[in-house]
């Protein structure tokens, strides 16, 4: 990793400013603000935005980007995040739709609607669902949408007052319980069994008329496919419980098996994981939600419908949960996912899924050779959770990996594994990269055991060393102190 900045703090954009300096100029129209608004409504002091030249803006953000790593620079095996390569063709395609306004006549964006409709059909086919909404803006937003759909279903049947509980495994993503709370449910955790799968007997004991839904990820966050999934969904349905599928880990199985066939009633997808749209440093994402036919009436409005060779927006859905976002969702992300699916086709998707599993399995074996253990060492799929050799901390290893030119895995998750390193290499990484990563982790562990101080001091080559999080939280400074 090379970072180009001399000694000393990297300046803030506000510190580069000079009063009266101008950057990019917008189109101007001569007008008198007071004539338009009167004196009372006008702002008294201007916002303290930076006053810099256009070149200074270019240098500032270019150099900031050099203090940042991404998939384009670095192997990024962040578990449950599917940091695969984001093909540039997807970006080129999205740019073709930038000048459409959401309130123009739908007859004037038929091409966009056709794309949305087709993407919906593909995603339904891939997940085995009957109906879909593309509106949710991210995975957790899709979760909320899906849980509100389940809520509306129970309400419609007069059962919502009794069905107050949502079951989540103890290995679940944190967004699952948070979503269930936001959707107005109580959360109850279900333990994992000795193999790392949901404890089916414990789950069955929890089932009943007080349960609204079960939220599951499959493969789960240990990378394990829930092998008894059909018995699980059957038992849940017998108790009137709806099955929610968290699609964060769909990359492992796309094309091979479908959540719909496993018995799930609702699925959300993370297009910014499975379907190769870039994560943007924290978004935008897109979280389409597919449902079985009995839940279709509750999906958000509007849905894209096809009539002959025309497409229209259907707002007339009286049982809908309403809207979860303005307009039609993150359309630009949808374009990218559409292009990805068109480029790969079914065989490409299946091959990508299988190679993601192959890479993860191969890397797991390489790490075991280096003294790492895998507590739930079943037939893991696209990701696995490893533990470092005794005495080493996941956090220290993560920081030391930065010095070796790798982004670390997800650490301390799932919560059921101590010092967890959750590793998801994805299919777009080469055998050499996996081997180099295992080699690097092995070297770090070996040296760390001999020299704990060295390990505790890592990283050494990044623009800043280990940062003081306690200080950041004790007296938070969240904006530039101008004075």
């Amino acid at each position: 990793m090379s970072y180009c900045w001399p000694e000393g703090d990297f300046p803030l954009i506000f510190e580069r400013a000079k009063e009266g300096r101008r950057g990019t100029r917008p189109p101007r129209v001569e007008a008198d603000p007071e004539a338009l608004f009167g004196p009372e409504l006008l702002r008294e002091a201007p916002p303290r935005l930076p006053e810099v030249s256009e070149l200074e803006v270019v240098r500032h953000y270019t150099n900031l980007s050099r203090r940042q790593i991404g998939v384009n620079t670095t192997f990024y095996p962040l578990g449950s995040c599917t940091m695969k390569y984001n093909p540039r063709a997807l970006e080129a395609a999205a740019a073709r739709f930038s000048d459409l306004h959401p309130y123009q006549d739908p007859a004037s964006f038929q091409g966009a609607l056709a794309l949305m409709y087709a993407l919906g059909e593909y995603l339904k086919a891939i997940t085995g669902m009957d109906a879909i909404t593309l509106q949710p803006a991210a995975g957790a937003h899709g979760e909320l949408t899906g849980m509100l759909v389940i809520r509306a279903y129970h309400k419609d049947r007069g059962e919502l007052d009794q069905r107050r509980v949502v079951l989540v495994p103890d290995s679940a993503h944190g967004s699952n319980p948070a979503t269930a709370s936001m959707a107005g449910f109580e959360v109850r955790e279900v333990p994992s069994d000795a193999d790392g799968e949901v404890d089916l007997e414990a789950l069955k004991r929890e089932l009943g008329e007080h349960v609204a839904a079960i939220m599951l990820t499959n493969p789960n966050t240990l990378g394990l496919f829930e092998r008894r999934i059909l018995s699980l969904t059957e038992a849940a349905h017998a108790a009137g419980v709806q099955l929610y599928y968290d699609g964060a880990n769909l990359n492992a199985i796309m094309g091979w098996v479908r959540p719909g066939d496993m018995g799930f009633d609702v699925v959300h997808l993370n297009l910014h994981k499975t379907f190769a749209t870039p994560h943007g440093g924290g978004g935008p994402g897109a979280g389409p939600v597919g449902v079985k036919a009995h839940l279709a009436p509750y999906l958000p409005v509007p849905l894209v419908e096809k009539e002959g060779d025309r497409y229209r927006l259907d707002f007339d859905r009286p049982k809908s949960i309403g809207r979860v976002r303005s307009f039609f969702g993150n359309f630009g992300v949808l374009v990218r996912a559409y292009v990805y699916i068109r480029m790969l086709g079914l065989e490409g998707l299946k091959r990508a899924a299988a190679l993601s599993v192959l890479n993860a399995r191969y890397l797991k074996e390489k790490l075991k050779e280096k003294g790492f253990s895998v507590p739930f060492d079943g037939p893991t799929m696209h990701e696995f959770v490893a533990q470092p050799p005794a005495g080493l901390k996941a956090l220290d290893l993560a920081k030391a990996l930065l010095d070796k030119g790798f982004h670390p895995p997800t650490i301390y998750f799932p919560l059921i594994v101590k010092e967890a390193l959750m590793i998801e290499p994805t299919e777009t990484e080469s055998k050499e990269t996996l081997e180099a990563f295992a080699e690097a982790l092995g070297e770090i562990a070996a040296r760390g055991q001999e020299d704990p101080d060295w390990l505790a001091g890592a990283p050494y080559t990044t623009p800043v060393g280990r940062l003081d999080e306690v200080k950041a939280n004790r007296k938070p400074v969240l904006t530039y102190p101008f004075d």
């Binding site: 950057g23 990019t24 270019t62 991210a138 496993m262 924290g282 790969l344 192959l358 080469s430």
Partner: protein, 428 residues
């Protein structure tokens, strides 16, 4: 084309190391009745072919000069925004969990938070939310948490889609929503919500509303326009406790409504109620300045069922675009852009009102949007305008029969405004 680097030989070697022969073997432990379902997808396409196909789809759309608003408008975007925000280091990173290797994004978030706080006149902003509508819902939920109340009063002139999203979120937690007009505040409200400028574009002094809300123990939540407040009094100056909004006018293309970003800013005392990511200032062991994700104990990955929100991925790249645009334009440029927008909107309003039978619904002062009552169905007017290469007249039946919304931006020239007016006179 699956973008995987593996040679066939490597696949064999890797499978061999696992004691397997074929890729199918990786799925052998799955229930066989589930495996290999029949899925119909179109055959794979070459990159060149797929881009031509997308081009053909795009040609079925009719872009034109845009005279529409409602949170999304056709504003000037400096060319450097695309160039800088699409750099792979920014675009292909995940959420900045590993601070030492994410100083670029973390510092950009810190700067963005500062800019949003400055624009809204409030103390602190988060790293971004999905869009204006969900930002309003989060802002209201925040106010309900802070006041421990379950009642919300929303002005009818708040964007209809924002109200719909708010209703969806509030239904889930069992909170009630009442729609109001004017400055009266119902008893028991935890949040009083208004839009500024309102959905129909009007700009009013909301200080009396803020006072009325505070007198009844409610927090005042204002959905605002990040461009308008470069010129107009910001929400913090007239007593808002929470300001939220749609960030698209700052550096983001319309893109049929997304991806954009939502912003949220609050008074300092509400900081710990904020949903989503925050970047905070700190130092490393050598005393060097750096940034980390701060106060994450509010968030879902730590707090799980007790988190302030379930949000994780937000709209960081869109917020980055806004920060770059704001840096490039500066305070003076942004103010000029706002003024030009308002001046063009006023000019357009005057011209459109010259058409016989057209009446004003919006009264000055207004910012970019305004509403008119047409003499015929606005659906038809919008369609006929589109046939002439213009997009305008969004039907808003909630506000009256034949009511339609229009907007202007600084991008429109005098000639374009006049050409639109002539087309409007023809079709109305």
């Amino acid at each position: 084309m699956d973008f995987a680097p593996h040679t066939e030989e490597e696949i064999r070697a890797m499978l061999g190391a696992l004691g397997l022969e074929r890729l199918e073997d990786l799925y052998a432990h799955l229930d066989h009745e589930l495996l290999n379902p029949k899925i119909t997808l179109p055959p794979p396409m070459h990159e060149d072919a797929v881009l031509r196909h997308v081009e053909a789809l795009a040609k079925k759309n009719q872009p034109g000069r845009v005279f529409l608003g409602g949170g999304v408008r056709d504003h000037f975007i400096p060319a450097i925004v695309d160039e800088l925000a699409s750099r792979g280091e920014f675009l292909t990173a995940y959420t900045p969990y590993q601070a030492e290797a994410s100083q670029g994004i973390l510092q950009a978030i810190f700067e963005y938070q500062t800019m949003i706080a400055e624009l809204t006149g409030l103390d602190v902003a988060n790293a971004s939310l999905y869009d204006g509508a969900s930002a309003l819902a989060e802002g209201v939920l925040l106010a309900l948490r802070a006041t421990r109340r379950m009642r919300v009063a929303v002005d009818r002139r708040v964007h209809p889609e924002y109200r719909q999203v708010l209703r969806t979120y509030l239904d889930a937690v069992g909170a009630t929503l009442v729609e109001t007009e004017g400055d009266e505040v119902p008893d028991g409200a935890g949040a009083v919500v208004a839009q500024y400028p309102d959905f129909l574009g009007e700009v009013r002094d909301l200080a009396p509303r803020a006072e009325a809300a505070h007198a009844k123990g409610a927090l005042f939540v204002v959905a605002t326009d990040p461009l308008a407040v470069a010129l107009l009094k910001p929400p913090g100056a007239f007593g808002a406790d929470v300001a939220v909004g749609e960030g698209q006018p700052l550096g983001n293309p319309m893109q049929l409504g997304g991806p954009h970003f939502g912003f949220i800013a609050v008074r300092g005392k509400l900081l710990r109620q904020l949903p989503g990511r925050l970047a905070g200032l700190t130092t490393d062991h050598a005393g060097r300045r750096g940034f980390v994700l701060a106060l994450s104990a509010r968030e879902q990955h730590i707090r799980r069922a007790k988190a302030k929100s379930n949000i994780t991925t937000n709209s960081q790249n869109m917020a980055l675009r806004a920060a770059i645009a704001l840096s490039a334009l500066g305070p003076e440029g942004l103010k000029e852009m706002a003024l030009a927008t308002a001046a063009n909107a006023r000019r357009l309003y005057q011209l459109l009102l010259e058409a016989p039978g057209v009446r004003p619904l919006t009264r000055p002062p207004f910012f970019a949007e305004f509403a008119l009552i047409l003499s015929k169905n606005p659906e038809e007017v919008r369609r006929k305008l589109a046939e002439r290469g213009f997009h305008g007249a969004y039907p808003i039946p909630e506000y009256g029969e034949h009511a339609a919304l229009f907007a202007a931006t600084e991008r429109l020239t005098e000639d374009e405004i006049e050409a639109f007016a002539r087309a409007f006179w023809e079709v109305v």
